[in-house]
Amino acid sequence: MKYTKYVASAAGLLGLGALLVACSPAEPKLESGYDFATPETQAMQDDDFSNPGFMWVDIGAEEWATVDGEAGKSCESCHGDLSTMKGVTTSYPKYNADDKKMRALQHQINNCRTEQMKAKAWKWESDQMLGMSAIIKNQSKGMPLNVSIKGEAAPFYEKGKEFYFQRRGTLDMACKHCHIDYPGVKIRAEVLSNGLPNGFPTYRLKWQKLGSLHRRFRGCNSNIRAEPYERGSEEYTNLELFLTHRANGVAVESPSVRK
């Protein structure tokens, strides 16, 4: 009798557990855009020698050691070898107390340039900025994204989240309508993904060029006939924070290759 009781309560617990899992509102595990790509595109990314993004990584490597600006410094003067950047970008965007807002990696690079090197800031989509952000992020390749949304970052995360769920443009769609509701489903010839930022900057075959995450945001916004924001704007940086947190745990692939 005792034994039967045990079995009954164990079964009850299992049932309850299954019910809890079934009722959980959490999304299924999110996958990198890589997992939605064709085998040809994946193969191009898998081999650093066939990945066209590495043309910009080479630019970044050169810039890392190049002295620029009135202070007579290069990145290397302060940071030493590039390998010291391993893991650094997995926690970006990061709250900065001087700016009182979030810094994406590009903001931090330009801050180093203007404050430490006394050099001119780079344009967001310049080959130098793409190359430098690609090579720094590449040091964390394979490491899981791990941004914090606690403390000072919390209100910026909330703004990014609000942006993500707000309908906009003539087509009146929010980011979530494609990237939460229909990942894996075809929109014309394209397969919608979870819309994660772990591969940026990405070499997009459509662009024939490496491009930033904020460039991609502008493309998405224009596609739905919404007014795009500037690259590096607070709106897009907060959105980047929301997306990166959504992708926490997903491995860095920069520079990735996408269709």
């Binding site: 707000q166 443009g169 003539t170 489903v185 224009s222 919404a226």
Partner: protein
């Protein structure tokens, strides 16, 4: 813009129901999940409707729907297959689904083709609906001809 005058007269003659007016767009009335009255008073042209439906800057229906249009490649799969849509829905039901699908499902991804959007619209498209009232009527007429099955 004569259709609007005609429409106003038509709508004015009806005593009950929800009357919707949006700036620069048509007036129409929703009754039980349908828009029973033509938006223009002029019959839709199914041939013109097919062209508008396929056009990437207009209906762009193939972005999300499979349709019996073999001459176009890569049909999207977000919405339902439209191959038999003319058997499954009435003209009045289809009209509301094109004009304002959010009246039926507030969370839908499907755009409203005859409502002036208000949120962060690109400066090139401010104040504009995606389609005109006659283009909606044409697409409705085209969709009503789709009765049967089709495989890509």
């Amino acid at each position: 813009m004569t259709y609007r005058t005609i429409l106003s007269t038509l709508v004015g003659a009806v005593l009950c129901g929800a009357l919707i007016t949006s700036a620069n767009a048509s007036e129409y009335m929703i009754v039980d999940g349908t828009i029973p009255a033509s938006l223009t008073g002029k019959p839709g042209d199914p041939d013109a409707g097919k062209q508008t439906a396929i056009h990437r800057q207009k209906g762009n229906c193939l972005a999300c729907h499979v349709m019996p249009v073999p001459e176009e490649q890569f049909h999207g799969e977000i919405g339902p297959d439209l191959s038999d849509v003319g058997s499954n829905y009435s003209e009045a039901e289809l009209r509301l689904r094109l004009v304002d699908p959010k009246a039926l499902n507030p969370d839908t991804i499907m755009p409203a083709f005859l409502k002036v959007p208000t949120s962060e619209v690109h400066k090139k498209f401010k104040g504009k609906t995606i389609l005109s009232a006659q283009e909606v009527e044409d697409i409705v007429a085209y969709l009503m001809t789709l009765k049967g099955s089709y495989s890509q």
